[in-house]
């Protein structure tokens, strides 16, 4: 969409809003016709797409502000992305780019090497020498590592990431640059957890003790490529390049994160080059920025480790044939094309996304669209036309209402009714935890397969984590086995087996995998094909 066609886009928006407000009822279908020429405002001049002079500044607009910049007390973006890749380091980290073969594996970060005891319970890390904390808070030692983890292991802590380190028994300082981590249970996921969970990031003991948690959340001290210049809770955040960063000063001098909750306004700011980096979160925002002059839209399909699925909760679908019928009834190819093609990678055939270790589909049962088979299965299960109604609630974002409307149509064709309501997030969260929804549509998943499989484990918190109240002892057993299996080949085999079991049982119907899509002004290069989260200013270059 170019500037000329942005006008109809804006006008359609205005007309729809105006009609909704003035009419007092539902908005009429949007008029997509071309507006008359006399209503066309002046065409703006083309933005300057040449490399800006002066400091290299990346400005990211996000729909909400950072709640906290403390690595150990945050949830969700933008906080997560800022602490993971700009402010702090862990002992290991994910590579910036996806490898050609296989799933990405953790690589050295603050630790240069490590080894694990034969029983998998003791991990010993050798730390990098001479790593500096921001703002003169000194050199990293093993004591900072011990302090960081124990800060979360403290039973009285109120820090949000305390659950990340719950498998740690104790942390032992061997010498200034060597630390041993004793686990309660052997864990194949331990390194991946360390690389992807912010509870494993290392904070400066000296800084936390001097500032206290409250101040540290606003002015944190880590070892990352950027240090905090200013921070307004829920507002603008400014980072400056850390001159003494152990990997060398990053090329981008300054990072600004501004808050613009309205996506239309954020897209306008991006097209105007007031913002030069954008996370594209909706089809409307995608349409507004794609094919614009001076703009590069980057898809990061390999960072997609989430899966959009229908998680079945109700006892009404206890009969496996009904669950299979519900899957056969949904044309996921069409669903993907209509609702997920712009921000997605593919329809989903299993619960582990393609870029996650252990993903495999060739041995799994297929649920390609087959309405006749769905009807037959329902009939076999004694479900007559219109006798089964499933209800749910969803939030208004993420395209879920649209997807549910399509599913409603597909299920309706085989005689199953779907009723849903749109509620705000906290109400939705309360409903699904109480098991009030009969099924749930939500995105789940992480980089580490174990972090996905917890959703299917009967020992996970029912409702909150195990959305489906699913209980299959055989699946539980396999999940436990893969969790403690340190040999990758053997673990891979268990992961394949557990996927087959789950996909046969089908407590959740996978719909599609989403991709991260970002837009940046074309004088900014990289990163593309990232392995995890996408906002990595230290990996960006100015052309």
């Amino acid at each position: 969409m170019n500037r000329k066609t942005l006008l109809p886009f804006a006008l359609v928006l205005f007309l729809a809003f105006g009609a909704a407000a003035c009419g007092g009822g539902e908005a009429p279908p949007a008029d997509t016709g071309t507006p008359s020429s006399d209503s066309t405002p002046q065409e703006p001049s083309e933005p300057d797409t040449s490399e800006p002079d002066g400091p290299k500044v990346v400005t990211w607009s996000y729909h909400r502000g950072a709640r906290s910049l403390d690595a150990h007390d945050q949830r969700g973006s933008p906080d997560y992305q800022l602490v993971m890749y700009s402010l702090f380091n862990g002992l290991v980290r994910m590579p910036d780019y996806f490898p050609d073969n296989g799933a990405p594996m953790p690589q050295p970060d603050l630790a240069t090497e490590w080894n694990v005891s034969d029983d998998g319970l003791v991990w010993t890390f050798k730390l990098r020498e001479g790593v500096q904390f921001h703002k003169g808070y000194g050199t990293l030692t093993a004591n900072d590592v011990k302090y960081s983890y124990e800060r979360l292991m403290d039973p009285d802590t109120e820090l949000i990431r305390s659950g990340d380190v719950r498998n740690i028994e104790k942390v032992e300082v061997i010498d200034d640059l060597t630390v041993a981590i004793h686990l309660k249970n052997a864990s194949a996921a331990f390194l991946m957890d360390m690389a992807t969970l912010s509870g494993y990031l290392i904070v400066s003991e000296k800084a936390v003790e001097a500032m206290g948690n409250e101040t540290f959340a606003e002015s944190p001290i880590g070892t990352g490529p950027y240090q905090v210049e200013s921070y307004l809770p829920r507002g603008e955040v400014i980072f400056k390049a850390f001159e003494d960063y152990w990997e060398g000063r990053p090329e981008v001098d300054e990072v600004r994160v501004i808050v613009q909750p309205d996506e239309t306004v954020a897209a306008l700011a991006f097209l105007q080059d007031e913002v030069n980096w954008l996370a594209v979160r909706s089809d409307e925002a995608y349409d507004a920025v794609v094919d614009q002059p001076g703009v590069t839209v980057v898809r990061h399909p390999t960072a997609s480790y989430g899966i959009e699925a229908l998680w079945l909760q109700t006892e009404k679908v206890t009969d496996r044939r009904i669950r299979h019928a519900l899957a056969y009834a949904v044309d996921r190819d069409t669903l993907f094309e209509q609702f997920a093609a712009k921000l997605g990678t593919s329809k989903a055939d299993t619960i582990l996304p393609p870029s996650v270790f252990g993903h495999r589909t060739d041995h799994l049962p297929k649920y390609d669209y087959d309405a006749d088979r769905a009807r037959q299965l329902l009939e076999d299960a004694g479900v007559t036309e219109g006798s089964l109604t499933l209800t749910t609630a969803t939030i208004g974002t993420g395209g879920y209402p649209d997807t549910l409307t399509a599913v409603q149509n597909f299920w309706g064709q085989v005689g199953v009714n779907l009723d849903f309501e749109v509620v705000e997030h906290a109400a939705w969260q309360a409903k699904y935890q109480a098991g009030e929804n009969e099924f749930l549509i939500v995105s789940a998943g992480r980089r580490e397969p174990d972090q996905v499989l917890v959703h299917f484990e009967s020992t996970s918190r029912m409702g909150a984590v195990n959305y489906m109240f699913y209980n299959n002892p055989q699946v539980d057993e396999l999940i436990l086995q893969q969790r403690t299996e340190l040999d990758n080949d053997r673990r891979l085999s268990i992961l394949h087996e557990v996927q087959a079991l789950i996909m046969e049982d089908l407590p959740a119907i996978p719909l599609y995998h989403s991709a991260h899509v970002t837009a940046q002004r074309d004088y900014i290069e990289g990163p593309d094909n990232v392995t995890t989260w996408y906002f990595k200013p230290a990996a960006m270059h100015f052309k």
């Binding site: 804006a10 928006l13 205005f14 809003f17 105006g18 407000a21 003035c22 405002p41 002046q42 703006p44 607009s61 709640r67 906290s68 007390d73 949830r75 969700g76 802590t157 109120e158 949000i160 990431r161 305390s162 659950g163 990340d164 969970l197 509870g199 948690n213 409250e214 959340a217 307004l232 809770p233 829920r234 507002g235 603008e236 501004i258 808050v259 613009q260 309205d262 239309t264 306004v265 306008l268 700011a269 097209l271 105007q272 007031e274 913002v275 705000e424 997030h425 906290a426 109400a427 969260q429 309360a430 409903k431 935890q433 789940a444 992480r446 972090q451 996970s460 918190r461 909150a464 984590v465």
Partner: protein, 313 residues
Amino acid sequence: MAYFIQRIFWFALTALGVLTLVFLLLRLAPGDPVEVMFDIQTDNISVETIERIRRDYGLDLPLHRQYLNYIASAIRGDFGTSFYFRRPVAQEMKRNFPPTAALAVAGISIAITLGVGSGIISALRPNTLIDYIVTTVSMLGLSAPNFWLGILLIYVFAFQLRWFPIVSSATTLTEHLHILVLPALTIGTSSAALIARMTRSAVLEVLGLDYIRTAYAKGLAQRTVVYKHALRNAAIPVITIAGLSFAALLGGAVVVEFVFAREGLGWLIVGAVYNRDYPVLQGSMVLLVVIIMSVNLLVDLTYTLLDPRIRYD
């Protein structure tokens, strides 16, 4: 004196009513603040920790105990600590009040200037083209929702004409004033429209009275008649509407701050609702009630200045 005591009594009673209503509505709404605070979907927090934090925040107490604690704290002016931000509520309000106050004052100034000005012009030339234009624009202004008008103004003045930045960021006073223009226009427009309509009808009514004819008969200039004699008597309903508009304008700040990504009480309140951040919401509501009731009191006192016949004793 008795009047002031009476006003203060009603003031306190209204504040208590609002506090109670906010308290009950929040508790009736589904959603747990502690679970909203944590990313419970990823199993990174134990049930024990959630229960402990709930105890720490007093959320495990019976409802009436929570209510009594809350009222007692509110009377002491202590609104506690934000569940979500873990910072004192007073600190959050202190930071968010000035931007909203600036927006509200700028908005009401625009509303009064535009509204009274165009209302007078319209009343002086009834049933002429200019009167029709003012009336039509007023109707449009009243009908346009803030979020729509805000995006429209951004599109035209910031995106197309580039007179303003789309991203609001300011350090100097001039920059602050510059980025205040569009939000203030957005928020002030509907009030301006209302004031214009009220001014028009009030001035028209007064202009038809005998003492105005007498003033003209004495040979006074139109300017003197309108500004010295007519407007003063037409001002009471206009000021009443302006006072009421101020409350509406503070409500509109919620939307305008969202569209323009401005810090402020409105945005703070919306976030607090989503996050079930009871202390922030309760504190902010009390602040808004105090502001709105103070403005109402000010309006009532202004009546006595405009019309000495009005006495409250």
